[in-house]
């Protein structure tokens, strides 16, 4: 049995080693950690601060500024629903309500079974096929409530 904390630290050290000397390294580092772990664990903040010779407050300030970075583990899949104007013109608000009811969560929450985290997103550049959503890195267009349910079911079954 491997120790999850040790594994996390190994990932953080590897990312830091690879990226810390790049100009403006912090965002690439945070992406590297989140890509590997799904989130930026609290213990990473001190390690990054040490590697970049910055204060922990500065690292925390950057992590908390960007909507994309998260400090707690997400569900197995993240559902991003677009709330922007173009999607609203095609019924995004109703889709948001439907999704919240179906998944039984509000935005930024994870379903009880740990399958899905629901997040709002402000434009996926899929405005010609509104309303749009993204699950992990897969974009979906013209998402009716029925299509939402179908896609969510497929994603869950595929896992």
């Amino acid at each position: 049995m491997s120790d999850p904390e040790q594994d996390r630290n190994a990932v953080i050290s590897r990312v830091l080693e690879e990226r810390k000397d790049r100009p403006g390294a912090l965002l690439p580092i945070l992406h590297g950690i989140q890509d590997a772990l799904g989130y930026v664990p609290r213990e990473a903040i001190a390690q990054i601060a040490h590697a970049l010779n910055l204060s922990r407050a500065e690292i925390h300030g950057v992590v908390s500024f960007y909507h994309y970075f998260r400090t707690s583990p997400p569900g197995r899949h993240t559902v991003y629903l677009c709330r922007a104007e173009s999607c609203q013109s095609m019924g995004a608000n109703q889709l948001v309500e439907h999704a919240k009811a179906k998944l039984g969560v509000d935005f930024h929450e994870t379903t009880h079974d740990g399958a899905f985290t629901l997040e709002p997103i402000y434009c996926l550049g899929n405005c010609a096929c509104s309303p749009a959503m993204m699950i992990d890195e897969e974009v979906y267009g013209r998402v009716t409530p029925e299509r939402f349910e179908e896609v969510v079911r497929q994603v869950k079954e595929a896992a």
Partner: protein
Amino acid sequence: MSIRAYVPRDSSALSLGAESVASAIAVEAARRKADVAIVRNGSRGLYWLEPMVEVETAQGRIAYGPVTMNDVAALFDADFLHGGRHPLFLGPTEKIPYLQKQERLTFARVGITDPLSLADYAAHGGWKGLREALGMDGAVAVKQVTDSGLRGRGGAAFPAGIKWKTVLDTPSYQKYVVCNADEGDSGTFSDRMIMEGDPFVLIEGMAIAGIAVGATRGYIYVRSEYPHSCRVLDEAIALARAGGFLGDNILGSDKAFELEVRKGAGAYICGEETSLLESLEGKRGMVRYKPPLPAIAGLFGKPTVINNVITLASVPIIFANGAAHYRDFGMGRSRGTLPIQLAGNLKYCGLVEKAFGVTLRELLYDYGGGSASGRPIRAVQVGGPLGAYLPEQQFDTPLDYEAFMAIGAMVGHGGIVAFDDTVDMAGMARYAMEFCAIESCGKCTPCRIGSTRGVEVIDHIVAGREREKNLALLEDLCDTMLNGSLCALGGMTPFPVQSALKYFPNDFKAAPKRKVA
């Protein structure tokens, strides 16, 4: 010889099932022993027809769409590989009126070529502009851009040549070229289409900018909402480097330019150029005070050309065909073409590249075909979340930076979002304030606090609490945000709010109408 079939790998086409169509064609071709080479092209921008499959025939490219994986067997039965008839048959792609009536300069190759084929790019006029630029003195190259009349396509419409000249004239041992690919405005997707559909044109434009101003390093700052664009750009940069179009010795000229993709992290404000530079430096995306201009002290304090994707992607054709060719398109002080994006509640959403001067009405009805819902179009928002909402009586305004400014609106990045008559404009005004509150960087008070107060005041008005007093308060608040904010986020959020109030006052009267089912 194998038959070439094109299935787009554009994000929007993928969002409608293009991947399953491509694999169904591959499986069916193998089953029938048909010799098919599947090319994953960019999108032509006719999104109601996506996934649109094209085949190369003796009569040119023939289109079929919208194709689902379940149509594939029937398409083979109809001999679509030789342009056979089928209910999804659209005829020669180039003859589709939506496409035929356009003036595609920046988008000349998008949807036509394989985005990751250097051979395709070169065969369609690629690298011609770069070769021209390599033979030019920096000042001559910058003058090309100035003479073309090209203005920043990201929204601010600042003359690109002037920006470039400032960087050229500022001495420094290190200069940068930064591409703003943080396309966060709702209703816009032209940057994404270029990055996914013709990435080499952006790389070429950035290399030309670097050579012109003496910058040797470039960054493309892509939003995290565009994972696919990041992947395509990374691949394209590696290919361009291997081909000698990037690196220490571009095409044997001894000139150097290196390029890297950097991923944003879901902050709308990072589309503002100084905030983007902060983010690239690894900081919170807080807006900087200007001056100094980024052209003088930009990335890491060094002179920096920072332009939008479309601006930089328009540079190669200016160098390939000459500044005059580009300048001959357009009207007034808006020269060249604009890739317009039709979005929202329209029947035919897509990409329409036209010379400046086309009217909103032509775009909404001749191209867009009216609303998707079949109901009357009540309002359109041009230029993203900071753009004004325009009613029917403004639809004859030509797309031109100055004409839009004259009616208190902006062309912005050329995104047009249509709403039908079920829209609740007080709700949209509230959303504008709410969006500003979510996305404000927090540096200046009018934006940080004003946006939250704006949401509250609109709630009071709609609920009928001290209506007149709150209406006056909202006007006052908008005035403060307009005049007192540090950047366009706080400074322009009042545009959608005030235009909604001005043109749709009844929506603010009673409790908001619920949407018609």
